[in-house]
Symmetry: C2
Subunit: 190 residues, 2 copies
DNA sequence: GTCTATATGCTGATAGAC
DNA sequence: GTCTATCAGCATATAGAC
């Protein structure tokens, strides 16, 4: 067996939150998808649903930010790279049937006022995205201050456009947002 | 009595979804906040929770888009107007204790794959926002095609930044996104 | 139209044999 | 560590008096 029960539970939770959110996901669904009985869930995660969600979000968040260099490194021109990243996201979302790629922001919006513990976890993940994004864009030639602002804009536009595109079933918001974020770099020396 | 029972139910549902999302909001909470007994809820909304949510989202969406001219008309320069709108949003969110101003996008992200009927309602609301936003920015001097793309960018960045700011408890994402969206207009004749 | 009392199913969580 | 059986509580929704 290559994957542990604990890992399968985390993956299942992330997968379900990605498409259904936190509130609509039941521990029974997690149990079934992970092929792990209820008792195993509460053996590995004594604090129950919240703890499973927290660990699943951390793992998903860490994996998701790695897409940034993966999608953008192939493009020498940073403006092209930004456009390509948004275009790739749009294409993948359409091909996947308009389901979410990552549960972090969906769940963050959903639980920001009703699940304080999970809100803190989401904030930690977003913080690490901002730090890693800033580092990447500095590496790509932006000044430190500009890189942080650009990362915040990049993430805000990407996540907002994700929700719009997903709800409208259209790539138009992601394409428009990608062009706008790339345009930010018009004055930069890249 | 100035407000009908039906209106109070809608308002209560919108208020609760705004801070808790759809899944975490129970009809009992709606009943209590609206000061209407369970029977009244199901008398006015025979299809139950979903129907209350649909009507509440429609009303909230219609009210929310009216903030656009309200916040931006005072500013002659469109770039200033955009910055001001994002800054106002950030300030109001911070003063309100980081709770959401509008339930539409939060709920849209939450239910996009689990509640098809509500997803359709959310899509109709977003469509109407895009149409009305485009009209407004044409009125403010943008060309028709540019105005639609700008509206999509504006809404994506605003909503994404809302979630980031709300989760991080910081105005930084909203301020960065506002500056970026305003920068879009750098070449425009306003 | 309003309101109380309640039905029915499902929720997260647990107990305890193996 | 794994698994089955089950708890107690709460969810949405309804019935029926007023």
């Amino acid at each position: 067996m290559s994957t542990s029960t604990k890992e399968r539970i985390c993956t299942a939770m992330a997968e379900l939150m990605r498409t259904q959110g936190y509130g609509a996901t039941t521990v029974k669904q997690v149990s079934e998808l992970a092929k792990a009985p209820m008792g195993s869930l509460y053996h590995h995660f004594p604090q129950g649903k919240q703890q499973i969600a927290a660990e699943a979000l951390r793992a998903a968040g860490a994996a998701y930010i790695q897409l940034l260099p993966l999608l953008m490194d192939p493009h020498d021109d940073l403006r092209e790279a930004v456009s390509a990243a948004f275009a790739d996201a749009a294409e993948q979302m359409e091909q996947a049937g308009w389901i979410n790629m990552c549960p972090v922001v969906t769940v963050a919006g959903e639980i920001a006022d009703s699940e304080p513990a999970l809100r803190t976890v989401a904030a930690e993940i977003l913080d690490s995205w901002i730090v890693q994004g800033t580092e990447y864009f500095v590496h790509r030639g932006l000044a430190a201050g500009q890189a942080r602002r650009f990362t915040l804009t990049f993430l805000s536009a990407l996540e907002g456009a994700f929700i719009l595109s997903r709800t409208l079933r259209s790539t138009e918001p992601l394409r428009a947002a990608g062009a706008a974020v790339a345009f930010q770099l018009v004055n930069s020396t890249v």
